[in-house]
C-alpha cells in the first residue's frame, strides 16, 4: 500500500466541499435555493440577471464533483478490507457513489444550460431549473444507501482492532436515514419538505457535509493505523 495516494484520495473530500460551497453560494447565488414556489417569470429573471455567474459557478462545481468519486473510493477500499474476500457492501457503495455524486452532474448541466442562451423561452428555463433542483435532492436516495452500506460494513467488521471505530458505523447509518425525507420533495412547493426546505435541503446538506468530514477522518485514521502497525490491522477476532 502507498499511504500517500490513499491520503490524497481521502483528502479529495475537502476540495469537493470547498469548490462546491464557493461556487454555489458565493459565485452562483444559488444558496438558498430558488424557491419552488417562484413563477416562471421570476425564474427567467434570475437566470437572465445571474447568467454569467451561474455558468462560472457550474464550471467550478463540475470540477469539484469529480472529487466525490475519488473520495468514495478512498472509503470503499477500507471498508472492502474490513469485509474481506468478497466485499459486496463496498462495491455497492461505489455504484451508489456514481449516482449520489454523479447525480449532481445532471443538476449542474441543467443550471448551466438554463443560463447558456439569452432569450430562451420562459417555460424552458423554468423547466430546466426544476430539473436542476430535482437532481440536487433526488440522488439523496443513492447517498443514503451509500452511507448505510458504509455503516453496515463498519459494524460487521469482526477484527479485534476494527478498521473504523464502531461509532463511525452508527454515524453513517444515521446520516443515511436522514437523507430519506428528501425523496418526498415532488409533493411540495413550500414548507420544510420542499426542495428549499429545512428537511429536504438544509438538514441533508449539513448531514452530507458532516458525513464527508467524519469519514475522511476515519480513513486517515485507518491509514495511520496501517502504517504504524500493519500486523495488528490483520488480526481477526476468533
Amino acid at each position: 500500500m502507498n499511504p500517500t495516494t490513499h491520503r490524497l484520495c481521502a483528502w479529495t473530500g475537502v476540495p469537493f466541499i470547498v469548490l462546491f460551497t464557493v461556487a454555489m453560494i458565493f459565485i452562483g447565488h444559488m444558496v438558498p435555493p430558488l424557491p419552488p414556489s417562484w413563477t416562471s417569470a421570476q425564474v427567467l429573471d434570475f437566470y437572465t440577471t445571474h447568467g454569467l455567474a451561474i455558468r462560472a459557478a457550474t464550471a467550478i462545481m463540475m470540477m469539484g464533483t469529480a472529487f466525490g468519486f475519488t473520495w468514495s473510493a478512498s472509503v470503499a477500499v477500507w471498508t472492502a478490507r474490513a469485509e474481506g474476500a468478497m466485499p459486496v457492501l463496498s462495491f455497492g457503495q461505489l455504484v451508489c457513489a456514481a449516482w449520489s455524486f454523479g447525480g449532481i452532474y445532471n443538476a449542474i448541466v441543467d443550471f448551466s444550460s438554463a443560463a447558456f442562451r439569452a432569450g430562451r423561452p420562459e417555460q424552458i428555463v423554468f423547466s430546466l431549473n426544476d430539473h436542476g433542483w430535482y437532481w440536487i435532492v433526488m440522488p439523496g436516495s443513492c447517498a443514503e444507501l451509500q452511507c448505510i452500506l458504509i455503516g453496515l460494513a463498519v459494524l460487521f467488521d469482526k477484527r479485534t482492532n476494527p478498521i473504523f471505530p464502531r461509532w463511525v458505523g452508527y454515524f453513517n447509518i444515521w446520516a443515511g436515514i436522514l437523507q430519506i425525507p428528501g425523496a418526498m420533495m415532488p409533493f411540495f412547493k413550500t414548507g420544510p419538505f420542499a426542495w428549499d426546505g429545512l428537511f429536504a435541503f438544509w438538514m441533508p446538506l449539513v448531514v452530507f457535509s458532516l458525513w464527508i468530514y467524519v469519514d475522511t477522518w476515519a480513513v486517515l485514521r485507518a491509514i495511520r493505523g496501517e502504517v504504524t502497525s500493519p500486523a495488528l490491522a490483520e488480526t481477526v477476532a476468533a
Binding site: Y170, I180, M184, G191, P192, F199, M203
Partner: protein, 198 residues
C-alpha cells in the same frame, strides 16, 4: 473522583465501568435521531401556531383509536424487548427468542394499523398535499414508520443471533433494544403532538 468512577475502578476492569447500556456508538444514532425529531416537533409547533384553526379542524379528522392501539402495541413490544435482554443476560436464550418474536409481532402490528390508517385517509381523499397539517401528519408518521421498519430489521437480526448468544453477548442485544426503545419513545412524542395537542 466521583462515586461512579470509584466504584468502576474498584471492580475488575471492563465490568461495570460502562455506564451506558449497549455500545457507546449506538447512542450516536439514537441521540442524532432524537435531535432531528426534536427539530420536527419544533417546526410542527411553529407552523401550527400560524394556522391553529386549520390544524385543529384537520386533527379532528384523525382516528385516535388507531393512535391509541399503536401506542399500546409499541409499549408492549418494548416491554417484551426488555424481558428478552434480561433473558439473554440469564442465558435463557429460548425464552429470549420467544420474547423477541412477540416484540416483532407487535411492531408488525403497528405497521399493519398504520397501513389501515393511511388507506382510510386516502379513501377519504386526505393526502399529504391536502393541507399543511396532513403534510406533517403523513411525513412525520411516514418517517417514523420507516424507523419502525428498520427496528423490525434489527429485531430479525437479534433473533438470528440469539441461538449462539452467550450472556456476555448482552451488549449486542442492549444496542438493538436501545434502538427499539427510541422508536417507541419517538412515537410517544409524536402521538400526542399530532393526535392530541390542541
Amino acid at each position: 473522583m466521583n462515586e461512579r468512577a470509584a466504584v468502576a475502578s474498584s471492580v475488575a476492569p471492563g465490568r461495570l465501568a460502562k455506564v451506558l447500556p449497549g455500545e457507546e456508538g449506538v447512542w450516536i444514532l439514537v441521540l442524532g435521531d432524537m435531535i432531528v425529531f426534536g427539530l420536527f416537533f419544533i417546526t410542527y409547533l411553529y407552523y401550527r401556531a400560524q394556522e391553529a384553526d386549520l390544524f385543529d379542524r384537520s386533527q379532528a379528522l384523525l382516528n385516535r383509536d388507531f393512535g391509541v392501539i399503536n401506542t399500546l402495541l409499541l409499549l408492549t413490544s418494548s416491554w417484551f424487548v426488555v424481558m428478552a435482554v434480561e433473558a439473554v443476560r440469564e442465558g435463557r436464550n429460548r425464552r429470549a427468542k420467544t420474547l423477541l418474536r412477540l416484540a416483532f409481532l407487535c411492531g408488525a402490528g403497528f405497521c399493519g394499523i398504520k397501513a389501515l390508517e393511511y388507506t382510510q385517509k386516502f379513501r377519504e381523499g386526505l393526502t399529504l398535499v391536502t393541507n399543511d397539517f396532513f403534510m406533517y401528519y403523513f411525513m412525520y408518521t411516514g418517517i417514523h414508520v420507516l424507523h419502525v421498519a428498520i427496528g423490525l430489521g434489527v429485531l430479525i437480526f437479534l433473533m438470528h443471533k440469539i441461538d449462539a448468544a452467550r450472556p456476555q453477548d448482552a451488549p449486542v442485544f442492549e444496542s438493538g433494544a436501545t434502538f427499539w426503545h427510541m422508536v417507541d419513545l419517538l412515537w410517544i412524542m409524536l402521538f400526542p403532538l399530532l393526535y392530541l395537542v390542541r
